[in-house]
Assembly symmetry: C2
Homo-oligomer: 369 residues x 2
């Protein structure tokens, strides 16, 4: 009996056995010790709302029960927050899961899908996983470029296009008007995934108004970043109700963790907490800009909880990343040129930042330019 | 702008907007009050291991970090428990998520998939969701029938077949030798999903030995039932490493809840707890058999944490189910004839059982035969 006889689809058989990201735990296992500063995955260094923590600990008492498959209470609170109807919201296991569902809902083998070259790899992973043909347009001055995205959508007749605002991995952003203009210019039959995972860290007014009457856009939000709940896996999509109906046709209805639902609902009720986190992240960004300037490097201004620092070349960024690992500091870097001339550093606690500053200065001295 | 212009795939457009199960919360919202006894979804009435509860409450402190995408510690413990290699295990968000991945990995539109008529609806939901053509063979004397499954596999040239042992919704079971014989007889190129969600409640020796050298079978286990962690969403697949590689090509790598991972690992280390739960479930089954006998009804002997009770007809089962809801008791019933002549009652706490017994006796008196 041979594994060649496993009845994989042709598509799955053709996929590479690669993953978008290697987790920090895997690197720690390889190195044989844990990181002193885990500032590579844009996880919040400022924890979770005390109200959310209490709600999650409390929810452990009923973990024998499935979570509500409709996430009713959470969707009700989210609908009130965003001024939309409950059936214009779908809650999922983080934006990653929702991205997979959106791709599954719109992509068959060969479908063209437009994104930016070097943008969020997990979106690309899902596109590949459903056989889509990825069309990636270059960043312009370290920013995703709506004009290029729109041109590619038109040229390719693509039904799906991805834009993160603010962007990951560069931390740059579009003005709300630029995003609104892109949406307005999208041809009918094209869907924009507008990934706003980092929106709470951005200046006020960066998100265009939510218009669920327009079936050309699906907004993605998450509790993983400003709410500090990455490990809970909970995010949501806001869109025209027909799009949400599509997600409901294929999603894993009983897939949501009950503790995560309780935590998200409680965190939503603690907006002061998120505002405080955003303020602390702004302090950390300023620290990081100042550090880069002191070291003679350019930091890319960021509207997120991370900062990309230009270190001159992809080769040097890789060397620095590896040397930082030896110093007990976990960071990441963009995967594709020309973005890969940067390292990407999550805003950590003041202690994390001090560790990073010392390690980075040490490492820079030893890594050739 | 019309929703007709949403770029759904033809498959998703064709899917019905139905769900495999309505959650008890939705019924409670409709009724305007909560159930006094929630004994319909085969959730454990006996809670979670104190060690698991402590581990989950502790894990809330690090919920800002993503869970390990490799679930290394948990897979290591599971591999040791089952005597397999770590790369022969895939951890997922409950068996439901893993079933979806297995279907995605093997089914394209039109692919024949074999199951039993009335077996687990969520498997069928995934098959429909990927465009598979479901071929359902009848139960024989309230048990799934390996001979019929095998015959359908052969006739249809089906690459995928589903068997739950013990079965849901009837609670019946196959001897290990019958399952082993089915596997041995499967044609090369056919994969059996052997769903053992309820195996901890079954008599010793019901599970055939695990043989990960055989790529024709993938075993499914869960923390949702005997471990009492349905709300955590964590289950796993055991299979030939090439099958696990297939899952790893498409799964949502950072999709697992960190708190659930910690809880599962702790629960795995508390085997006494699971044994105690199984003993309490056996007490409850005996109670339920005795109740049925006292009421002049036949209970189907069960190897699970629920009991199907024959009430004569699908119409009567529906009436009883609805009348029990009015009494504050949530149960379910099989969806398809002839299984639907039964109600399906999860083994509850002694208090749940007393509530059910009183309500059931009352309801029976008023519902026509």
């Amino acid at each position: 009996m041979s594994q060649d006889e496993i009845p994989f689809t042709a598509l799955v058989r053709s996929l590479p056995a690669t993953v978008p990201f290697v987790g920090p735990e895997a690197i720690e296992r390889h190195r044989g010790r844990t990181f002193a500063a885990r500032i590579g995955a844009n996880e919040s260094a400022f924890g979770v709302s005390p109200k959310a923590a209490a709600a999650m600990r409390e929810a452990v008492g009923r973990v024998s029960w499935y979570g509500d498959p409709e996430s009713f209470d959470l969707r009700q609170a989210l609908a009130a927050k965003h001024g939309v109807a409950m059936d214009e919201i779908c809650v999922g296991g983080g934006i990653d899961e929702l991205l997979g569902l959106v791709v599954r809902m719109t992509v068959t083998p060969g479908t063209a899908v437009v994104t930016s070259l070097g943008a969020y790899p997990t979106f690309n992973y899902h596109v590949a996983g459903f056989g889509g043909r990825l069309v990636a347009v270059p960043y312009v001055e370290d920013r995703e470029d709506p004009a290029s995205l729109l041109a590619a959508v038109t040229t390719e007749g693509a039904p799906l296009v991805y834009l993160a605002n603010p962007d990951n991995p560069m931390g740059t952003w579009q003005e709300a008007s630029a995003v609104a203009d892109l949406i307005a210019a999208l041809p009918s039959g094209c869907l924009l995934v507008l990934d706003e995972a980092y929106i709470e860290f951005a200046p006020e007014g960066l998100a265009p108004p939510i218009d669920t009457g327009d079936p050309r856009v699906i907004r993605m939000r998450t509790f993983s970043k400003a709410h500090g709940m990455a490990g809970a896996r909970i995010g949501y999509a806001i869109a025209h109700r027909e799009l949400i109906t599509g997600l409901n046709k294929i999603r894993n209805h009983f897939g949501l963790n009950r503790i995560a639902q309780a935590g998200a609902l409680a965190s939503l009720g603690d907006s002061n907490f998120v505002a405080q986190v955003a303020a602390r992240v702004e302090d950390g960004r300023q620290d990081t800009y100042a550090l880069a300037a002191r070291l003679g490097l350019q930091a890319i201004p960021s509207a997120t909880n991370f900062v990309a620092i230009d270190v001159g070349s992809g080769e040097r960024a890789t060397s620095i990343l590896q040397a930082l690992q030896e110093e007990g500091v976990f960071i990441r870097r963009p995967g594709v040129a020309p973005l890969d001339r940067c390292i990407r550093v999550t805003v950590g606690t003041p202690e994390d930042r001090a560790l990073f500053a010392a390690a980075f200065e040490k490492v820079l001295a030893s890594v050739p330019t």
